[in-house]
């Protein structure tokens, strides 16, 4: 019995330090993130971005936008990409075997014709059925690639094979980019002489309920849908209070798949996107970093705090569940594929802080939470724990969540202030209060199902539904 007590005591202490460490870690990360955001603001307050867009010496960029059954929004989305002002630009739309009329719409709208194209394939991808270019000089930047369906990673690899420029920018075709998004994401790639910048990313925001005209974001509104509203808050927390800190520490393991820029040379050298995983964006960054470390080349991944990309968030529990399930599987797949990084000094801060953080807090966090909740509830129901104590602990979790969310909202108000109406801020604060009851348990359950699906070796993306910025529904099946 005494051994049980000793073990229990040690376990308690381990958990105590785990919780304490996590709390300190989050507070520290938030502080560093804010500082880095502030520094970034100072650095770029007088940057002449138009120079990058117009100069002949600016780096050449290929935007790659995979599309699968995006017929509802494809024309508007491509229009948004065409609106980007950058002189040395190629826009590659990869039609990933759509079963709808996406390709026909594109051909018709942009006067495309099929060209003979020799596709050299340094990266694996499904067969390319054809490459299209426009007869109209106004659309000379566009290249449309029609290929067999193979998933997002496969489509991106096909796009990289076609890309003619030095840098590639992977973008979800349904995203709406800010006018200066491209120059802002490219600048970090060429503005750090100390090391080679292999990738860069920017902040992604929720576009639900925003007004989009001609592929441009005209007015920012807080989403009306509750789930989209909570995700807005989630994105604020994540991007404002975490990402920038990892940039400062050169430990960033993830650049958003919705909008990220990469050094094409390194992407090709390390094998491109992994088609076997559903977390291809994170996996690519980790692999690129491993590649650089293996060759002992100084490198870094940069992130900028500016909102660059607006995307439509799932607005139903069904779709959201699939998305979160997939994210969880992607995280596990990536972390386990590259487990050699864990506490490996060769990888510097990535091995000693960033990867362990993802491993212990992001991957193991949900199962620990789930198990803890079950045990705690059971113990309370069986009378082993007093209800007063149970309620007190629940209050701690809820108030901490509210406090953290309020802090993120404050940072948003002080920095970019996109939701500048007091009523919107009030709504966000109310969402912060309700989130632990209505949203978080659901997301936790999705993560658990994600783990179970991973263990069952499930690999699919699942079905996604998009409303589109003009309100029509589209069905996506992969």
């Amino acid at each position: 019995m005494i051994w049980f007590e000793i073990a229990a005591g040690m376990f308690i202490d381990a958990l105590y330090f785990y919780g304490l460490f996590m709390l300190i870690f989050y507070v520290a990360i938030a502080i560093v993130s804010i500082d880095e955001t502030l520094q970034n603001y100072k650095k770029n307050s007088s940057t002449d971005y138009p120079l990058l867009a117009t100069s002949d010496n600016s780096p050449s960029v290929s935007i790659i936008a995979p599309a699968y059954n995006e017929g509802v929004t494809i024309i508007e989305n491509v229009k948004s990409l065409l609106g980007i002002h950058y002189s040395n630009l190629q826009i590659i739309i990869v039609n990933d075997g759509s079963t709808d009329n996406s390709l026909q719409k594109l051909i018709h709208a942009y006067q495309l014709y099929k060209v003979e194209f020799f596709v050299d394939s340094p990266l694996p991808s499904k067969r390319v059925r054809g490459v299209y270019k426009s007869l109209n000089a106004a659309f000379k930047k566009i290249v449309v690639v029609d290929k067999e369906n193979g998933g997002k990673s496969d489509a991106l690899n096909a796009g990289i094979n076609i890309a003619a420029n030095d840098y590639i920018v992977a973008v979800d075709v349904d995203c709406i980019l800010e006018q200066d998004a491209l120059v802002k994401i490219i600048k970090p790639l060429i503005d750090y002489p100390k090391a080679r910048v292999i990738a860069s990313g920017g902040v992604v925001r929720i576009a639900n309920s925003c007004i989009v005209e001609d592929g441009k974001l005209v007015k920012v509104n807080l989403p009306q849908n509750y789930l989209a509203k909570v995700q807005t808050l989630e994105y604020l927390r994540s991007f404002l209070l975490a990402r920038m800190a990892w940039t400062r520490l050169n430990g960033l393991l993830l650049v958003s798949g919705a909008f990220g820029a990469f050094d094409k040379d390194i992407v090709i050298k390390c094998g491109g996107y992994n088609t076997k995983t559903v977390g291809e964006d994170m996996e690519l960054i980790v692999r690129m970093r491993r590649y650089m470390v293996d060759r002992n080349e100084p490198h870094c991944v940069k992130y900028i705090p500016d909102p660059l990309c607006w995307t439509e968030a799932p607005s139903t529990y069904k779709i959201l569940g699939r998305q979160r399930n997939r994210w969880m599987r992607g995280t596990i797949e990536t972390l386990l594929t590259h487990k050699t990084i864990l506490f490996n000094r060769r990888f510097g801060l990535m091995g000693m802080a960033s990867y362990p953080y993802w491993f212990f807090f992001e991957m193991l966090g949900p199962p620990i939470e789930f198990l803890g909740l079950i045990l705690f509830l059971a113990a309370t129901l069986f009378g082993l724990i007093q209800w007063s104590f149970f309620i007190a602990m629940v209050c701690v979790a809820i108030t901490f969540s509210c406090m953290y969310s309020a802090f993120a909202i404050l940072m948003e108000v002080l920095s970019f202030n996109r939701y500048n109406r007091p009523i919107d801020v009030a709504k966000l604060l109310l969402v912060a209060i309700s989130e632990p009851f209505l949203f978080h348990p659901f997301v936790l359950w999705c993560h658990i199902t994600g783990i179970i699906d991973y263990l069952k070796n499930k690999r699919g993306w699942g079905e996604m539904t998009r409303t589109g910025f003009n309100g029509k529904l589209s069905e996506l099946k992969v």
Partner: protein, 599 residues
Amino acid sequence: MISDQACLISQKSLGALGTLLVLVAFFQAAGQTAHSNSPKGDRYIRHVVQPHQTYDLIARVYGVTGRNLAAFNNLEYHKDEVLAKYLTIPVKRSNNTVAEKRSNDVEQKVKGKLETSVVFKNRIRRTANDYFPVSLENELISPSGRRPIQTSLPVASRRDTIGFTPLISRNASTVSPASISTVKQVFLQHKQIGTVPPSHPITVRSVAVPSPTNNHTSSVISTTYKVTTKAKLSSSGNRRSKPKTRVEKVYMLVRTQIIITLSLVALIFSCMVTRNRRAIRTAKSEQFLRSMLIDNVTSHPVFLDDPSRQFHVSELWKKQLKKRTTRTFIIDEIITGRKNIKGKIGENFLKLYVGLKLDEESFSKLKSKQWNQVAQGIQELALMEQHHRMSDIFREINSKNEYVRAEAQSALVYLSGFRGLWFLKVLSHPISEWQQMRLINMLSSFPVSNIPDLHILLSSSNQSLVIFTLKLISAFQQRGMHNEVIRCLGTKNELVNFHAINCLKEIYNASTAKTLAERFPFESRRNKFAIVKVVGEIGDESQIDFLLRVLALSDNAFKMCAATALTGMGNKGSYLLEKYCNSKGDPYSQIFRHIKSAV
């Protein structure tokens, strides 16, 4: 197609944090209830039985009967020595609240080891208590027989023990029940809620303390303390009461978090209100200032009639210039005006800038400790063409801050064109690609003259400097540097070689293509592509053999590159390419069709 995993960070972490708190609490509670043998919720005194103690003796000390004591512990009553190791004393909760606090206080005080790291000791003691379920003697315990973590002994200072003097013996056998039953509960209650207690001797009831010298032989004692210093008790009474139980501690944390959250909410709304008010106020004042600026620049007599006259700063300007924000706004407006408006009006902006002594404001920023202020000051001085400040700007060329350095470099080039490049000779830091682009862009607006000696720069150990020099040679076609650039090809640095190859495209002569072709086997894959492309652009028919050799390589990318280059060799190149591709079949025929499609 959203594949962003951003939200995992905040979402999971918050949940996990809550879970951890829950988990820790659960295991603690589980440990606490592991030996539960008494009604839940109540708290009792554990008495460690000493040799030769009987039920009656022990019971008398606590004011209960021996039979009740035995029954409470599920033991058979007898008058002999008690064999159990310890007994749980059925004392009511109301008494315990007092007794618990005093017991812990007294125990700590008597031990007299409180001056050093009490928190640490509490932690050690707590851990030991968790690992080895042997309770310290005669302390308050939960019914499970295990002392909960949160009921660890309160922190007391040596100062607290000064005013207390034990008035009765430690010998339990000599203590009469009457002597320990006269508790002044009022005093303790006062102390807990923070009011000043009465100054008179007090007696604590039901306080069990171990012996300060030997825990194993300690006996139950009742101790009376005499309050000798009113002030000391008052001060301790004024102290904020500390939570006693774990639940209270957790609620204290909750209260703290709620207070912080509410403060943040208040801050959010106050920021919004302040910002909105300021925006309205600023809009009005900016409108006014803008009109003032335009009036001065377009119609001020100094600017119109007699340029040599001194600009007189009116009282209105003086009043406006008192505010720092206004000065900043005016500088920004003047700079914008200067950038966008050319001619005489543009010149007037300069005069106004100097006339309002805003150049001194900009210059003062150079002395700032904040790097962004320094960078801004440099930028302002450069844009407002303050040539006489160049020496001050030059001092920042090797600043520790990369942004200050970059602004200083840009300022020098902006102010003096190619002559400003002499900073390159003393530069000890790398120049980013972005900065190189900025400088070349600035230089392109100046006539090409007074280019500094680039020979020295090409042999610099600063790699970025060499690359920048190669870009300069290329952008401004310094053909006289051809041989030096060729020499650069021999370096081990792949990037320098790459830029040298591309530079040669702009300053080539008859031998360049041949030289590049000869370098082909020794270069990296990336540079090989660059060589083939450049040869395709600058080569003549004599290079066709070289390109055909490249076309024959097994790498499809080289085939494609060489085929494209061959089409740049005129009719002969195209003819030979077609002939070669037709004779070889796929993938050459595909490549040829691709070339013909001119994608």
